[in-house]
Symmetry: C2
Subunit: 451 residues, 2 copies
């Protein structure tokens, strides 16, 4: 690019796979990228553009529209697969969208406006409308001829959808079935097609759609309306994106970070501060409640000095076992392995787990606590072995409380129709922190004379 050598640039763009070209162009700015894209033929241009990062696509569109070159970019935008086009237009500024949409060919324009109507996160918003649809009376040879004509425009040739005159879905024909019958060209596709087609509705949640595709090992799944009319398909590459997005979102939620649109380094500093700040604030208020709880028991700490030592231990035992339980149940609910009806089983499991793990930690804790308080600054103040039993009893109860809360709260959230992932680790931990202090001081008051 530095040498302005268009011929060798074109050679480079044509020789490599589009995804590779996009990778090599990562370092270029919008103007340079556009220069490279311009030397490529239109078909390749749109492929390479499709592999750019969303931010780069947006920047390029902004730069060109800003430079009065909206015409040039509208051709590129029109050639994008419909679902990618809608994603792109969601990211660019509203006035740019208003400038671009009228420049699209009528068909693409109508499609874009319709797809923009589906809320983000639904099957409708990630589907593409460019697939092969054929009537059922064709033979294998006719179908292959038809597909070969449409192959350039559609997003996938791996599935062909057989529809009636009203676009109602009748069946599905895989490329494998077609190719297998390549040597019987006169067979009718209606005899070959699979009639029991699994579909989703346009308003279905994209996560549920992804699970379905993964469970059935599909390459794509058709999206239909209530009358089983074919609206579009969701393809395997979008499914993988959904899984990656959801994994990141769940991980961030579990750590108390509101979902981010982009990655860590790409998110604007202030957006990141906001995503973290709101949750950190919520958790801070939960922690403030522990201070109030401790204030109530202030006198007890005055009289029995060594109780202070084990506050963090007691709190973290409950919090840690609680987040383990919450995470296991949330993952189980996500994967569909745990259902609401299983709540008795989950709670029994968590009760048993809490008793078992709590007993283990209690034994270790008792031994360590005895050793620790022997090193007291004023040895005559050392607690008796009996008084120290407060520590293991508290640990046992706090761990059981942790596993039960951690197991129950995500189920409760699911029951209430909320995302169980909201009942994330720091939230569960905050609740258990306060319970831990109350349990600790109640046990101490009951067991230690003079409190």
């Amino acid at each position: 690019i530095a040498t302005d050598d268009d011929a060798s640039l074109r050679e480079f763009v044509d020789a490599l796979m589009p995804a590779r070209v996009a990778e090599f162009m990562e370092g270029l700015d919008a103007v340079e990228s556009w220069r490279v894209l311009q030397v490529a033929d239109p078909e390749r241009r749109v492929e390479v553009f499709g592999y750019f990062e969303p931010e780069k696509q947006t920047a390029l569109v902004h730069a060109l529209v800003g430079a009065g070159d909206a015409d040039a970019i509208s051709g590129l935008v029109a050639d994008l697969p419909a679902d990618d086009r809608v994603d792109l237009l969601r990211d660019v500024d509203d006035h740019v969208v208003e400038e671009l949409i009228p420049l699209l060919p009528p068909d693409d324009r109508r499609e874009t406006l319709r797809l923009r109507g589906f809320p983000e996160g639904t099957a409708g918003s990630v589907m593409t409308t460019e697939m092969v649809c054929l009537p059922e009376h064709l033979s294998v040879a006719e179908a292959l001829t038809e597909i070969s004509k449409q192959a350039q425009e559609v997003e996938t040739v791996y599935y062909t959808y057989v529809v009636d005159d009203d676009r109602r879905l009748l069946g599905l024909l895989s490329a494998r079935q077609l190719v297998t019958h390549y040597l019987n060209p006169n067979q009718l596709i209606s005899e070959l097609m699979q009639r029991d087609v699994v579909t989703v509705l346009a308003m279905d949640d994209q996560e549920a759609v992804a699970e379905k595709v993964a469970d059935y090992d599909f390459l794509a799944i058709p999206v239909v309306d209530e009358n089983r009319r074919l609206l579009g398909i969701v393809t395997h590459d979008d499914i993988i994106d959904v899984f990656r997005e959801e994994a990141t979102e769940d991980a961030l939620l579990a750590a108390g970070v509101a979902p981010l649109e982009n990655g860590y380094l790409k998110t604007h500093w202030f957006t990141l501060a906001y995503s973290r700040g709101i949750w950190l604030g919520v958790m801070f208020f939960a922690a403030l409640l522990t201070a109030y709880a401790l204030l109530r028991y202030e006198e007890g700490f005055d009289k029995v000095w060594w109780l202070v030592l084990f506050i963090p231990l007691v709190i973290s035992s409950g919090g840690n076992s609680g987040s383990q339980s919450a995470t296991l149940v949330i993952r189980g609910l996500n994967d569909g392995e745990v259902r609401l009806e299983d709540w008795r089983r989950v709670l029994w499991r968590e009760l048993a787990m809490g008793l078992f793990l709590g007993a283990g930690l209690a034994i270790v804790g008792y031994g360590s606590a005895l050793l620790l308080t022997r090193q007291a600054p004023e040895p005559h103040l050392s607690p008796t072995s009996y008084e120290m039993v407060v520590v293991p009893v508290t640990i046992l109860l706090v761990v059981v409380c942790g596993t039960l809360c951690g197991g129950a709260l995500p189920l409760l959230f699911q029951k209430l129709g909320l995302d169980p992932a909201l009942m994330s680790n720091p939230f569960v931990a905050g609740i258990i922190d306060i319970a831990g202090i109350v349990i600790y001081m109640t046990v101490a008051t009951a067991m230690i004379a003079g409190m």
Copy 2:
């Protein structure tokens, strides 16, 4: 099945898609499932079996081999795609494997033994060896004929691999390219094929392979040896499984649960207790260290009673901001967005973030602390507003310490060649807990007269 009506059973098995049949059979035990499978024709039988849950497959194999029916099941096992066969044999007991392997046809036996040689988690262990390989001198029509003959045996017809006599990979032909040229049957495939093929090595990590497939939107990726000889392919359905597995594994690690083979309810109670117990134990010892730290400062608490109130608040502020940072950096490293070379940028970001968020929490904390200590049981003991500045100063420092540790530790783990996800939230929180107490008491000693 209750009515022993084979004809209608067969109708049911034949009418629905294999994945659906497997779903309906979820409730059946091994013997009943085998009865249903037996009425189906062998091809359909193996498809339905392929959609069973791994535990059900294993149970069925065990039941049949146990009943002396190893011959019957070996046919089924032989018909499975090579990668699924290896997965299954990994799950069943060793003596069953020894009984089954000799019963496999020689080709399948050799394949199975070879694939079993690749360690779990590598590209080699998830690849299949059943793909279409053609020499480069064929025409489109010859290629289609060849593919139509092989279509039943291979796992995917969507990519055809063009190889030389030594099985060295020359190029890749997609079904789309073939179908597009259906009307030019005499064109040579060597003129159509893509020569710049992205490949992976058999020993590459499956997570890296999955990222590559997702980045390039591939349906499958070829696995080659050092001489670029084609060994197999990893297909899109295995890639989705890898993403799902990794997401669950990361979520569990982040909550301090060792990875599980199966889901929450399916895992044996004792295995689950072990997976949780080891991490809970590690975190418990970290928490015990806080007790030692507090013991060192015992005298301080005796003299300045209200310091106790804010121990959980200080600890949790650091822990929460630390796990936020750790999770963001771990996700960034996983997605390839953050690289080791970015460490300066990450640390600057986290320093700024810590100062900003810490200052916010400090202001709220100072106000709340003033309010709180006004309600002291003996009002004449209330701390002065100046003394209370200990709380916000500590919060600020602890939050900065949290964000810096949370950002740095995953990078350090990555640098040391360890999985950054091991530097999970409870681990980071444990380290910051201790740092929090030390910072708290150091600030208090410096600022409060008479400590």
